[in-house]
């Protein structure tokens, strides 16, 4: 438990859970894992299994926003928003932890969770896809768009800070 509780809690908090929701979902996750230990398939990562239980537990508390617009922005437009084709200096704020956390918070839930799982928590592509209930190709597409959006949000933040 001690090996994973902080990471699971961090993941839950990154999904817009209030502190109370994150604590409740954390408890439900470990209780659910305890009760469901017999259903654990030994081949998969135990850590990934816990993250998937936690994600489902939070979803019961924190219903997905309905009517959220589909992502219709093309990859090319996302790339340009993220700075492709500009001659600006590299993003200095990448180094600033507070800024990076703030910008990550500005992303939609689906974008934030794929970045947190794959990049921050270091799950493999297959594990991340399993936790999210996606195929690997769909996960990769979501991850790429999410990273571009994060980069675009950083640029936007820098532009505002320097205005």
């Amino acid at each position: 438990m001690g090996r994973h509780d902080a990471a699971v809690h961090r993941f839950l908090a990154s999904l817009n859970a209030s502190p109370d929701e994150a604590e409740d979902a954390l408890q439900e996750c470990f209780v659910g894992a305890w009760r469901g230990a017999a259903t654990y398939r030994g081949g998969e990562s135990a850590r990934g299994w816990l993250f998937a239980i936690a994600r489902n537990a939070l979803r019961r508390h924190h219903r997905r926003r309905v009517g959220e617009p589909e992502d219709l922005v093309s990859l090319e437009e996302l790339g340009e928003r993220a700075g492709w084709g500009t001659t600006d200096d590299a993003l200095g704020s990448i180094e600033a932890r507070e800024t990076l956390m703030w910008v990550l918070d500005q992303l939609g839930e689906e974008e934030r969770e794929v970045i947190v799982l794959r990049d921050v928590e270091g799950f493999s592509g297959e594990e991340t896809a399993d936790i999210l209930g996606l195929g690997v190709a769909a996960m990769k597409s979501r991850l790429h768009r999410a990273r571009l959006r994060l980069m675009a949000a950083l640029r936007e933040r820098e532009r505002r800070d320097h205005a």
Partner: protein, 92 residues
């Protein structure tokens, strides 16, 4: 704005933009990696953009956003809940 359809070293900038995450994650076949590298060497726009993109991913992976340990109060409540669950199971 420069043209994303511009072809350099056999790949368009659009093609490179599309595979940048897989390139950074080391998930492309060797032949495609070589083509992307050749494009990046000759295309300033993609080289600059790809460098920043790669730095961002490295920064995320380097623990830039990782917080510390679990709050002691949350850990205590979790332990209490698990103990209660264990006791309940034992009674059943």
């Amino acid at each position: 704005m420069p043209d994303l359809n511009r072809v350099v070293a056999g790949l368009s900038c659009r093609d490179v933009l599309k595979v940048l995450s897989e390139y950074v994650d080391g998930e492309l076949p060797a032949e495609t990696v070589a083509r992307v590298r050749a494009h990046l060497q000759e295309c300033d726009h993609c080289e600059r953009f790809g460098g920043t993109f790669g730095s961002l991913v490295s920064r995320l992976r380097g623990g830039a956003t990782a917080a510390g340990d679990l709050d002691p109060d949350a850990r205590r409540k979790l332990a209490e809940r698990m103990r209660a669950e264990w006791m309940r199971e034992g009674r059943e």
